[in-house]
């Protein structure tokens, strides 16, 4: 069985988000980490590898320094790593990104593709399903649990107030939630090995069946008008009253704020 996990190097937002004067992310000022949902997806793949001996390949699109997250994935136990990097791919939105990654994936044999649900720097949750669409394979998003059964996967998909149990025949694509598992640590020996291994580097010329008009900034229909950090909510107000008093209290507050 062959699994490809798509991962992304993202800025660590734990310490807050920093912007350049033009409104774009100041990536240099923030620590770069493996996107948490992607890391859970990688762990899911490695668990399948532990059970079945599957071959796990990690793939990322990004700047040359995205090599760091690929080495981290290798140190956790992935077998192969591919970096898709090219100046013409820069500034890609979700459409151009998924087109690029699908173009890279067309070079590979795979039974299962796992992506994270969404990246913490963009929060769109679009790239995974778009890749599946480009490749013409089924997609199951928001996976909380993944089981491989014969030539199919059984996935517990998170939903607003319930979950769905879905079965899909491979090849297919799954988007993983960070709640899926607790990713393993790298091992010191794994780190040493990771730096001995070769990371395959692909550029524009290695992408299969894609048009230049769908790539990079030029191929991105999304235009960012403005970006800002999350507005922190106030602490709120806590009151302890019985049910009927609470209702009147809330009604008064809503009237006071002209909500009703």
């Amino acid at each position: 069985m062959k699994i490809v996990v798509c991962i992304k190097q993202v800025p660590d937002t734990k310490g807050g988000v920093k912007f350049n004067p033009d409104g774009t992310l100041d990536r240099a000022a923030m620590l770069a980490i493996m996107n948490p949902d992607d890391k859970a997806g990688l762990e899911a793949a490695l668990r399948i590898k532990d059970e079945t001996g599957a071959e796990v390949t990690v793939l990322t699109m990004g700047l040359p320094k995205a090599d760091d997250v690929l080495r981290e994935a290798l140190a956790m136990g992935a077998d192969n790593a591919i970096l898709v990097t090219d100046r013409v791919l820069g500034g890609a939105d979700t459409w151009a990104t998924s087109t690029t990654i699908a173009g890279a994936l067309r070079n590979l044999d795979y039974d299962l593709i796992i992506t994270g649900r969404q990246a913490i720097d963009g929060d769109t949750a679009q790239v995974g399903p778009q890749i599946a669409e480009h490749l013409g394979i089924p997609v199951i998003s928001y996976a909380e649990d993944i089981k491989v059964e014969g030539d199919s996967v059984i996935v517990k998909r998170q939903y607003e107030d319930r979950y769905h149990m879905l079965k899909a025949k491979m090849p297919c694509l799954i988007t993983a939630l960070s709640e899926l598992n607790t990713p393993r640590y790298m091992t010191p020996g794994g780190i040493f090995d990771a730096y001995e291994k070769e990371v395959t580097v692909w550029g524009r010329a290695d992408l299969k069946d894609v048009d230049d008009s769908d790539l990079g900034l030029k191929g991105s229909p999304t235009k960012i008008a403005k970006a800002s950090d999350k507005v922190r909510k106030g602490a709120g107000e806590k009151v302890t009253l019985d049910a009927s008093e609470s209702v009147s209290y809330i009604m008064d507050k809503l009237k006071e704020k002209h909500v009703i």
Partner: protein
């Protein structure tokens, strides 16, 4: 000369730091308060390969260099010195001598389960009457047919009751020199937990590293196989000394970690603590103390990393190890004492980590050769 770390060592540090912050730090206070050995943490460390970092892969280890191992002990000790010494004693004092002096059979039998963390190791040299002066030792081993018979006791043994494999140094003969003075000749043995006649005495109640299992080992007609001898008969003393050279680098890393951990807390605390309307970090007294501590800590780190590199590239590294341990241990003691002072009354309260760190630091000036012994080693090489 390159003072920077390469990418793989940087990544290894990231791993150790993340593990220490996530798995070790939350338990550090409890481990100290309850004096309970952190067995679950050791299991997690085993799973992540921390129990055999400098051991070749062919024996189940991680195949990394001594520097990577030193960085692991350093990062663990930043948050919990107990956890740091568990790894250090296990790796430097038990695995290392078997790897260096063991037969192929001994390496296969013992190093593999030790390196994977399936088993834990310890080292027993010190006796009630023999600390710095090894000639004061009383524990004897006598060959009886196909077995060695051990009698005596060892004290202050790290990983004492929780270990599975022990390196035990015992007298195997007494010879007289030309002037008729008696000289005890030692040999090293590998003793497994459960050997007949091997039992544990009292658990030591310590000032610091209180979660570390420190016990007395008792040997009463303890019978072990003939092939439990480690290295040649009569070479136990040089084996022990060489083992301690490596051990000292581990303890130097532990001391370095304690000092770094205390300094990190001092930086955070002095920025928050306000007196006379401004943070104490804005007072020049604090700034100068922080500057002195940071300089000293970095100097200690360089000596420790240099010793780790010497262990990798040189056959003999006694002086490098002695200098690293001497300076790092005295740095740990000086820095933690100063940091408690900067914390004022809060520094004396157990709720704050720095109180524990000051207690933990003291042992680094004592075990695996006191600071006085390190000065003897260094000056001995100078005056040779």
């Amino acid at each position: 000369m390159d003072f920077g770390l390469d990418k793989k060592h940087e990544m290894a540090r990231t791993l150790f730091k993340e593990f220490a912050e996530t798995e070790v730090k939350p338990l550090a206070q409890e481990v100290d308060e309850t004096e309970v050995f952190p067995a679950e943490t050791v299991k997690k460390m085993a799973k992540s390969g921390f129990m055999g970092i400098p051991v070749p892969k062919e024996y189940g280890g991680q195949g990394c260099d001594p520097l990577t191992y030193v960085m692991c002990v350093e990062e663990l000790s930043k948050v919990c010195a107990t956890t740091g010494v568990i790894v250090s004693a296990h790796t430097s004092l038990c695995i290392d001598p078997i790897l260096t002096y063991g037969t192929e059979e001994q390496k296969e039998k013992y190093v593999r389960p030790l390196a994977t963390g399936e088993k834990l190791g310890a080292f027993a040299l010190t006796e009630p009457g023999a600390g710095t002066d090894a000639q004061g030792a009383q524990t004897k081993a006598v060959l009886d047919g196909d077995e060695w018979v051990l009698n005596g006791s060892k004290c202050f043994i790290t990983n004492g009751k929780v270990a599975d494999v022990y390196i035990v140094i015992a007298i195997t003969s007494v010879t007289e020199d030309k002037r008729g003075r008696k000289k005890k000749n030692f040999s090293a043995f590998i003793v497994e937990k459960g050997a007949p006649g091997f039992s544990f005495g009292t658990k030591e109640k310590k000032m610091g590293i209180r979660g570390s299992s420190t016990y007395e080992l008792i040997f009463e007609d303890c019978r072990i196989p003939k092939d439990a001898l480690l290295g040649p008969e009569g070479k136990g003393f040089p084996i022990a000394m060489h083992t301690l050279d490596g051990g000292r680098i581990g303890i130097a890393a532990q001391a370095l970690g304690i000092a770094e951990g205390a300094l990190e807390r001092a930086i955070a605390y002095t920025k928050e603590r306000k007196q006379f309307g401004r943070s104490i970090a804005q007072q020049q007294n604090t700034q100068f103390k922080l500057a002195d501590m940071a300089t000293r800590v970095e100097a200690a780190q360089m000596l420790v990393y240099k010793a780790a590199k010497a262990k990798e590239t040189q056959k003999v590294y006694s002086v490098e190890a002695a200098k690293a341990k001497l300076f790092a241990a005295e740095t740990a003691m000086a820095v933690t004492t100063e940091v408690v002072q900067l914390f004022g009354g809060y520094g004396y309260i157990r709720e704050y980590d720095v109180e524990r760190m000051m207690r933990d630091a003291k042992i680094t000036e004592i075990y695996e050769g006191t600071s006085e012994v390190q000065r003897m080693v260094i000056s001995g090489a100078l005056l040779k």
